[in-house]
Point group: C2
Chain length 218, copies 2
DNA sequence: CTCGTTTTGTTCCCGCGTTCACAAACTCCT
DNA sequence: AGGAGTTTGTGAACGCGGGAACAAAACGAG
């Protein structure tokens, strides 16, 4: 293990592990709600739907937060993971594109409860401006710069039709946004230093269709 | 390359490749719309946002559909990929849970245009029954068996709150559904032979938050 | 205090996926 | 026809992630 120096340099956690930490966090929240104080790697792994060896290895990247022969303290581990992910602080999020999906995202309770705060809803269609969605007023896309500067937004969500997605991304990047979650079914390119994650509903269905077709061929 | 016998046995395509085929398919559709007849692996790769070597290797799992020195015929390759994925045929899909997200999914045009057909919307809340969403009437969750039997549904989408997701999945499996797309933020377990893919909005944001936090530490 | 039990943290190995690099194959021009 | 130029398809090397297996550490009983 990397020696933890006083400079507190962030160890590099494998990407695959980072993707699972939120799953562990949610499982720990559930356990905590059930008033369970302590759990073994086996318990937590099955709650998270993974192998226990993998879970232990994942947690070992964060540090040594368990007790051999005993297991993990649920609340303590939960805090450590939340801190590592960065959801102990609150993140301001801007959503661009208030169609069906944008609506759903704005109303999604899972954001607020996990440290994300929708500070603005933007849409290019000015007939929607002023409309209120999930307690937030829809504003013009041109307000992006001002909002990002005022509220210190680092994360942007794109829920526009595919044609406009690249433009929105470009503008977000120019404003200083460095993390983008893209729901538009198109490839967007950004400069290095900006992270993009893509969620594509129809691709997921197509992957299922492929396997379904293969099952049918037997 | 595996000799293509007359029995036309489906070669096994790596999972990572399967996940990219829909991306290539979309890129090809775009090229085709632009009246581009032929493209090189370099062209298609950049349109799909991947490395050209990876693209060529991916396509090589399907067969040898390009021409050396020339490239790929856009429409021909498009058809081959569509056939391989299984989106030349139409797939019946049932959506359970007509909240904000269920609404958005029902209205999502990307489904219909890619070979997926929403045949039923189901919700446990009977005050919603009869309501019409995207031209489909919302029905009782208890109608699931009948609908699956009648329409030959193989793919189910879960857009319920997390508490109900496992029950919905169990019932889908009992009806004979063998592919599930889960939007509920919870781990669901299914018997082997059933495929589940998970889309979790808040996990994606948390992954971005992690990287964002790391950038800020510098 | 010592021994047995439990469970973590880690090492080692294997397989998958990515990338490089190049031979094979096709076109075009002379 | 032949050679130069292009582009595919694939063999080989490499690195990352997953899983088994085990040593180290804590606890409890006697």
């Amino acid at each position: 293990m990397t020696a933890r120096s006083t400079s507190e340099t962030a160890r590099d956690i494998p990407e695959a592990t980072v993707a699972r930490l939120p799953v562990y966090l949610r499982a720990l929240n559930t356990l905590s709600d059930e008033a369970i104080r302590t759990c073994s790697s086996e318990d937590l792994a099955s709650a998270a739907g993974v192998n226990s060896a993998k879970l232990r290895k994942d947690l070992s990247y964060l540090g040594s937060y368990g007790t051999r022969g005993v297991g993990y303290d649920v609340d303590y581990l939960r805090y450590q993971i939340a801190r590592e992910i960065g959801v102990t602080q609150d993140w301001a999020v801007v959503i661009v594109g208030i169609g069906n999906l944008g609506h759903a995202l704005a109303n999604y309770s899972g954001f607020r409860s996990r440290g994300f705060h929708v500070v603005a809803l933007l849409d290019a269609d000015d007939t929607r401006h002023g409309e209120e969605v999930a307690g937030v007023r829809v504003r013009a896309f041109d307000d992006l710069e001002a909002i990002v500067a005022e509220q210190g937004v680092a994360i942007g969500v794109i829920a526009t039709p595919p044609a406009g997605a690249q433009d929105v991304a470009d503008r977000m990047v120019r404003c200083g946004i460095t993390s983008i979650l893209n729901f538009a079914p198109t490839v967007i390119t950004v400069p290095t230093g900006v992270d993009v994650r893509k969620v594509d509903l129809s691709i997921e269905l197509q992957i299922l269709a492929y396997h379904e077709q293969r099952k049918a061929q037997l």
